[in-house]
């Protein structure tokens, strides 16, 4: 009996592992003039013992920028000033951050932000060996998020592969 259950769970595990590829991390829809890529939501852990930030990315191949939409929680409702991405070699600041909405969620405030990043800059951040740090500045506070080193390798490999797929298919109709 134990063997049967073990085999059943092992089979499930193997079928799930074999499915673990980048295709499940994005969707693509052809449009009249271009293609729409959507990278599914990912959690970015806080470096300040806060809850993680969750972000997704949308890219139209006719555009030079990627639209990033992110959720994060804070103890107070903030006026967002800017978003900054940094790593050991690169730094990119975004001043035009759109707040889609701010809602009260239990005791915290949920902020939904939208900002744009040049496709090339995003590629550079994901090609780096160490995780970028995402800083959100607002109302005199700074919230900091970054991938943990053990998760970064997988994240960097998978997103880089997706960005390569996008680049190689960019001009196809």
């Amino acid at each position: 009996m134990k063997k049967t259950l073990f085999l059943l769970f092992a089979f499930c595990g193997i079928s799930l592992l074999s499915y673990a590829n980048v295709n499940k991390r994005y969707t693509m829809r052809p449009r009249t003039q271009d293609q729409l890529y959507f990278l599914l939501p990912t959690q970015l852990p806080s470096t300040q013992k806060q809850l993680p930030l969750e972000f997704d990315m949308t890219y139209l191949t006719s555009d030079s920028c990627v639209t990033v939409r992110a959720n994060f929680l804070s103890s107070e409702a903030l006026s967002i000033d800017s978003v900054q991405l940094i790593n050991a070699h690169l730094q990119h600041s975004v001043d035009s951050v759109v707040v889609l909405y701010v809602e009260k969620e239990k005791k915290a405030w949920l902020h939904r932000l939208e900002y744009r990043l040049p496709f090339g800059t995003l590629e550079q951040f994901y090609q780096a060996d160490e995780s970028f740090q995402l800083l959100i500045h607002g109302s005199g506070h700074t919230y900091s998020y970054a991938f943990k080193p053990k998760h970064w390798k997988k994240e960097h490999e998978e997103i880089s592969e997706i960005l390569t797929i996008i680049t190689k298919n960019k001009w196809l109709k």
Binding site: M1, T4, L8, F11, C12, S15, L16, Y19, T27, R29, P30, R31, T32, L36, F38, L40, P41, D56, T58, L60, T67, R69, N71, L100, Y101, R112, E114
Partner: protein, 103 residues
């Protein structure tokens, strides 16, 4: 004999529960597919958002899979279509993720 009876009972319970967690195609061991949920006359927009619901053991089901919530998350006001991706393991852990496309 007892063992066979137990194994069969377990299989029946699992299949029974699987119908609680998923609607549509059901794989007894693993389910993973995407299907259309809604289509409008609008052209495929430039925005996408997701909403998710989760069911555990067919006993607890939580989440907000509402199109309204997803549309709000991306600032979508004109919906072009909605896809739903269902994944389920043994019918015990099921997630339904809605992809709302629009402008």
């Amino acid at each position: 004999m007892k063992k066979i009876f137990f194994a069969l009972s377990l299989a029946v319970v699992m299949l029974g529960l699987s119908s609680c967690g998923t609607v549509g195609l059901v794989g007894a061991v693993y389910t993973g597919y995407t299907e259309p949920a809604a289509v409008t006359c609008n052209e495929v927009g430039s925005k996408v958002a997701t909403a998710k619901t989760v069911s555990v053991l067919g006993i607890v089901a939580v989440g907000d899979g509402g199109i309204n919530k997803a549309a709000k998350a991306a600032g979508i006001t004109k919906i072009s279509h909605v896809d739903v991706k269902t994944t389920s393991v043994l019918g015990l852990f099921t997630t339904q993720k809605y992809f709302v496309y629009g402008e």
